[in-house]
Symmetry: C2
Subunit: 345 residues, 2 copies
Amino acid sequence: MPDNEQLENWLNKRRERRKHLTANELFPKIQAGSREALSAAITLLESNRKEDAQEAQQLIRQSLPFQNRSWRIGITGVPGVGKSTFIEAFGKEIIQRGLKLAVLAIDPSSNVTGGSILGDKTRMNWLSTQENAFIRPSAAGNSLGGVNRTTRETIALCEAAGFDVIFIETVGVGQSETLVHSMVDFFLLLMLSGAGDELQGIKRGIMEMADAIVITKADGTNIEKSKLARAQYANALHLFPPKQSQWIPSAKICSSIDNTGLGEVWQLIEAFFNHIHSNGWYEENRKKQAINVLHSHLKSLMLQQFLETDKAKSLIQTKEQAVLKGEISAYQASEDIFKALFLSV
Amino acid sequence: MPDNEQLENWLNKRRERRKHLTANELFPKIQAGSREALSAAITLLESNRKEDAQEAQQLIRQSLPFQNRSWRIGITGVPGVGKSTFIEAFGKEIIQRGLKLAVLAIDPSSNVTGGSILGDKTRMNWLSTQENAFIRPSAAGNSLGGVNRTTRETIALCEAAGFDVIFIETVGVGQSETLVHSMVDFFLLLMLSGAGDELQGIKRGIMEMADAIVITKADGTNIEKSKLARAQYANALHLFPPKQSQWIPSAKICSSIDNTGLGEVWQLIEAFFNHIHSNGWYEENRKKQAINVLHSHLKSLMLQQFLETDKAKSLIQTKEQAVLKGEISAYQASEDIFKALFLSV
């Protein structure tokens, strides 16, 4: 853990960066491969300050023409499955092929000043020192859209910065998987051998989203068990309905310690991207994702505008009481609220 | 199938009924047990005419003080599981205990003039002739809220009419189960023996909602298979997380032909209602359901008001194109749409 002085220094440096550079200054540096400029730009995205938001949107506009080049890969698995160790080893595999890798971590509980960044970088010793790797947690922030928006826009910046592969890592325990699935091309589920899926807390819905299951820690006395688990998961994957991408998911084993199986996982991912490039799903899926974002963000803007004002909240509360007392129907109540809010716009 | 003349007669009778009676005239008749008055009232609920809507809302207001007395039971299962035969036999069991039973069927594809009513009544020969039974499909209609609202309000009318038990039947193939689950106290899933749940098209999410699974057609050479299926389903039910009601679901077998097992199903339902009355879930759940209706209806009113106008639709289409061309981000697009719609309110 860093001490307070270290943290204070780091925060000061961050404030300095934010103070001095505008979107127009940052963008060429990002394209030139400056990791500091990219970090500063992401900090702008995460900021709640109005001036920052304008600069951030300017950056996004400049990044848009550079979309659609990277491979976006979602990685999930319950705590303990060895995500950081896997990403460190698998990232090495990718870097050594001459590719540039960005690792974005979504952690609903993280926040920038809490030290997550330093924590993540520490867990990825080798990667964090590589010129061609960039590691960054996605802080939830308080901006409208939260993790969702910040992460999507960070992806756009990373693409403009020329990263070939972008990992979006999430803790496999909650709703964040669906979110990650909605912003990636390939969804990778990490599993442990010798644990039923109940034990691993992985919901069926998450398995259904997976393009591949990789069983980690297939080393030492664990190898046979891992092979068995691979067969079982491969079987389970076949029971799900076919994917829109027409891709048939499969299961692999690997060891981040023995450094085995990682090349095969990469080959699988290459096969996937060949497949979706040739059948058009890569383009089609990204279009669908963009249109979905438009609609869901528009709805949340509207609902927020109308329903989260103090006036609306107190009106809703009053009508809820009337419904609970049986004085009016829930339908009547919602129509009353709607009319009251709407006449006052 | 009725011929055209029969259908025409029936429709005329219905039009007559609608023409002559107001809410204030209908309500006392409904309370006095007139099935014709109840039918006429439901027809008002399903109507798209403005005058009818006012009368219908008046009826609902009058019915509200009589809520919270009936047992609302959702019944689902794939086509072929024998829902109508089960309801006919199980309904007899209930009627013979001196209770009044209403059977409402939700069929997203039905519409009142299509003959579903006559069809349903034909399949429930005995029930349809009973003074203490009332059978009515819930037509989708075109009113805001569709099946959802009409069915909920029909339930309120049936409660005011003094029905002790209300079945809400749905075809177990789609989204309608979640809808039905959100308006009942007890959710019953009918299954066949000897078919995996994949084969029966029942999603895990539907099993998760079930308060009981009843295996139908446990007769003849099918009895042993049904007992085996009961054990398997009982096992499967234990794997789901505990219910908020603290009720532990179980599996039963029955035969609507041999008339076996139906008494046991009824005893199970009685045990359920004793349980939820004593732990307060009956009240709590109904309150939650009402508050959920308020919020979801309010949201749909707002989204409909703003997003389904021609102006909004064409604006959205234009912005979608801009997003697809990579000219603006999906977030920017939704904010542009929001501002454009909002300034014009």
